[in-house]
């Protein structure tokens, strides 16, 4: 079942709440794993199929927020949904401002939960897609010579060939040759496409 591939990881210290969530997500058609504490989760190691996290904010030991700070680096593509009690809403709002995907208050209704997880997995898919594209773009950019990268950084500022030749101190025809080589290596035909790849690969425009 290909659509079950992304894993929903639940970290919640209350056993009955955790098991109930896992059942509901299972009934909603999601693949799941559960952990009692942040430490348990970290000890078990991340499953590469992980799609999103559902974290309880109040937990003994590390706590949901501390775990979230670590996941932002190690699992940037996996959105984090927080589960909170009423008293913890200010904490949850702060977490969202820092990049958490969503927060839900307990008790949470099935449609709200399943919808949030659905959205989180879609977001995960988008982030994964972008990550994939960026990797491809970076791979193509890596094939350019240093001079060609130099010329590209000027091209994406919208500079004309003559201007580029003046700035780099080379002849205008040479610039044209470099640009033809860049188009061939990046396998693109328009300036717009070049701009996309440069942005995805994180190429800085020339000053």
């Amino acid at each position: 079942m290909a659509e079950r591939d992304p894993l929903v990881v639940v970290v919640e210290d209350d056993t009955s709440v955790r098991e109930a969530l896992l059942r509901l997500l299972d009934a909603g058609g999601f693949a799941t794993t559960g952990h009692a504490t942040a430490e348990d989760f970290l000890a078990a190691g991340a499953d590469p199929r992980t799609g999103c996290f559902i974290l309880d904010i109040r937990m003994p030991g590390m706590g949901g927020l501390a775990l979230f700070q670590r996941l932002r680096k190690s699992h940037a593509a996996c959105p984090v949904v927080f589960l909170t009690g009423h008293g913890d809403i200010p904490m949850a709002v702060k977490a969202v401002q820092e990049g958490a995907f969503e927060f839900l208050t307990k008790p949470v209704d099935e449609t709200v939960l399943l919808d949030a997880v659905q959205q989180a997995l879609l977001e995960h898919a988008r982030r994964s897609e972008r990550q994939h594209e960026a990797e491809q773009a970076r791979a193509r950019i890596a094939g350019l010579t240093p001079r060609e990268l130099e010329v590209l950084r000027h091209v994406i500022t919208g500079a004309l060939n003559k201007q580029i030749a003046d700035v780099l101190g080379i002849a205008e025809p040479t610039v044209k040759i470099h640009r033809a080589s860049i188009r061939a290596k990046l396998d693109v035909h328009s300036v717009v496409e070049q701009l996309d790849i440069a942005r995805l690969a994180g190429v800085e425009p020339a000053e």
């Binding site: 009955s16 709440v17 059942r23 009934a27 008293g87 008790p107 209704d109 099935e110």
Partner: protein, 610 residues
């Protein structure tokens, strides 16, 4: 003019004068029967003196016999009256001895009257003339002594013994002056008269009878004593009047109500302060039944009580309300005494009352304030606990909801696995019970009970309280150490109140740890057991309490946050003291600690002894 005639006439006159004076005294104060007896003695002495004079002058045997019989009667009257005077005045003589003496003399008088020659002589041989040292002639009789005269002589000896003993006992009782004057004079002169008269009778000494001289001396001594008594009575009278003036001043000026009731319960007297307090005139209430003094609501109750007060004495302390002219009662605390007459009959009740109206009002106000503060502190503490409770309640509710919705989805998808649904239902039941337990704990905490002592096991009670603050501790990263031995005996106190104290101290400790790095946040609850008391300590690793505040920590209105903390501690102390416990605070580098004690319950003591 004969010297003997002059002297004996003067003696007789003096005796008669004293007789008259004593009679007057008796007439003025007829309770004093001793005056009648002394008057009788004086009268008989006067008569005796005249008889003695007659004896000196008469030359015939027949006249001597007659006068001697008369003289014996006079002596008998004097001696018997004297014995009963001593009995009545000193009140220390032996009554039976006085009776024996009286009976003996009565016998002697009978003998005296039957004998032709009196009690003294069986037969008179002759009357002989004699001379005094200044050359005056007088007569005495000579003859055979009467065989029964020995009875009279023995009786005189008995009198000496009786008086001497009564005197000795009066002396021992501390009535030294009366004993000396009355007893000594009588004893001395009885001895003299008792020796001299028989010698004259026997013709051994050539003097006239001088019994009346002796008796005049006695009567004079008694008169001196009685006059002294009378003057002392006057002095006492003056002192009593001075004392009465002081009492009167006290009654008029004192800021206490004084009420005197007669045996029928009518008001005999009220003092001026009653008028000031009640705004009513004394004339309005004097002569009225005492219920007129008090407000109508209480009069029925107290009227019933008066009957008991009349027979058994009043309750030493009582409280009733004086009805005032302005319609506002004045509540007084009364102290009452039962009055009795000298005869021991009930003579009414004297009560002194202090106005406590303002004091009672102040106490009621204070009580009301304290109750209100009590409710406020409970509400505050509950407010802080609501988030903890809502979290605890949220957990099972969240689990139930998710489980139920998961089950519905399984069913809707047409692929229900029986095991899954059974597991879901089991968990729903468990979570439902869990939620109910949380609510039960909350209810027990909020239930307002009056002071109720029960045998409380501390370990489960502590667990309950700790469960309440556990979420808070989790969130703040506070480590909790419970050092409570399993054999801690049960204490006698109210469950809710002790929980309140513990919660209060725990909440304070949590607050104290706010500014402390998470790694060192710790709260320790320890118990140590004594024979009579269990000591519980709640210690934190916070900054401690400034030394200038530690003494005032338990005072109401002292506190660092809107008065909440201080009021909480004041209430803690009040609760613990109500159960016979105590609380104190200590502070050092390691943080603050609150140590409180509770009495071990009877069950706990038995267990520890067994």
């Amino acid at each position: 003019m004969s010297i003997l005639t002059t002297i004996w006439s003067m003696i007789s006159g003096a005796c008669l004068m004293l007789c008259f004076l004593h009679l007057l005294l008796w007439w003025k104060d007829r309770h004093q029967r001793v005056y009648l007896l002394s008057a009788l003695m004086a009268l008989a002495s006067g008569a005796g003196a005249l008889i003695e004079l007659g004896l000196m002058r008469s030359e015939s045997i027949a006249a001597h016999a007659t006068l001697l019989r008369a003289q014996n009667i006079a002596v008998a009257v004097i001696l018997v009256a004297m014995v009963w005077f001593v009995q009545g005045y000193l009140r220390t003589g032996r009554r039976w001895l006085a009776a024996v003496i009286s009976a003996s003399w009565a016998f002697c008088i009978v003998v005296n009257l039957l004998s032709p020659n009196s009690l003294v002589f069986a037969e008179i041989h002759e009357v002989v003339p004699r001379e005094t040292f200044w050359g005056e002639t007088f007569h005495t009789a000579r003859g055979a002594t009467h065989p029964l005269k020995i009875v009279a002589d023995l009786t005189s000896f008995l009198i000496a013994v009786y008086v001497a003993e009564a005197t000795f006992r009066a002396w021992r009782c501390g009535r030294r002056q009366a004993a000396l004057v009355v007893g000594a004079s009588i004893t001395v002169f009885i001895v003299i008269a008792g020796i001299h008269a028989p010698l004259v009778d026997a013709g051994r000494v050539a003097t006239p009878f001088m019994v009346s001289v002796a008796f005049l001396t006695i009567v004079s001594a008694l008169s001196y004593q009685l006059a002294d008594d009378a003057s002392r009575a006057l002095r006492y009278g003056r002192e009593i009047r001075a004392g009465e003036r002081r009492w009167r001043t006290l009654l008029n000026e004192v800021q206490l109500v004084v009420v005197d009731l007669d045996p029928a319960g009518r008001v005999r007297y009220v003092n001026p302060f009653f008028e000031r307090l009640s705004g009513r005139r004394a004339l309005e209430v004097v002569g009225q039944p005492f219920t007129a003094l008090m407000i109508a609501e209480e009069s029925g109750d107290l009227a019933a009580r008066f009957a008991g007060a009349a027979s058994e004495g009043p309750r030493p302390r009582s409280r009733w309300t004086v009805a005032a002219a302005d319609g506002h009662g004045r509540v007084c605390d009364w102290s009452s005494v039962r009055l009795v007459t000298p005869e021991g009959d009930f003579d009414g009740i004297l009560s002194v009352g202090a106005d406590v109206t303002e004091a009672l009002q102040a106490r009621r106000d204070l009580e009301r304030t304290r109750r209100r503060l009590d409710r406020v502190i409970r509400a505050n503490m509950l407010g802080e606990l609501v988030s903890a409770f809502s979290h605890e309640l949220n957990q099972p509710l969240a689990a139930i909801l998710s489980n139920a919705q998961a089950a519905r989805r399984y069913l809707a998808q047409g692929r229900p696995r029986v095991d899954d649904v059974r597991g879901i239902l089991d968990q729903i039941v468990a979570d439902d019970k869990r939620a109910a337990a949380v609510i039960e704990r909350l209810r027990a905490l909020m239930e307002r009970g009056e002071i109720l002592r029960e045998d409380l096991a501390l370990v489960p009670l502590l667990d309950e309280v700790v469960a309440l603050v556990q979420p808070e501790l989790h969130q703040q990263g506070i480590r909790l150490e419970l050092l409570v031995p399993a054999d801690t005996p049960p204490v006698q106190a109210g469950r809710v109140e002790v929980q309140q104290v513990l919660l209060n101290l725990l909440v304070n400790a949590v607050r104290a740890l706010e500014g402390v790095p998470e790694s060192t946040r710790r709260i320790t609850i320890a118990a140590s057991n004594g024979d009579e008391r269990v000591t519980l300590t709640v210690a934190d690793t916070g900054p401690g309490i400034p030394s200038d505040q530690i003494d005032r920590l338990f005072e109401p209105f002292h506190g660092d946050r809107d008065g909440q903390l201080g009021m909480g501690l004041a209430i803690c102390r009040r609760i613990l003291e109500a159960y016979g416990g105590s609380i104190q605070a200590e502070s050092g580098d390691g943080g603050a600690s609150f140590r409180f004690t509770l009495p071990v319950s009877a069950v706990g003591k038995q267990v520890s002894r067994g």
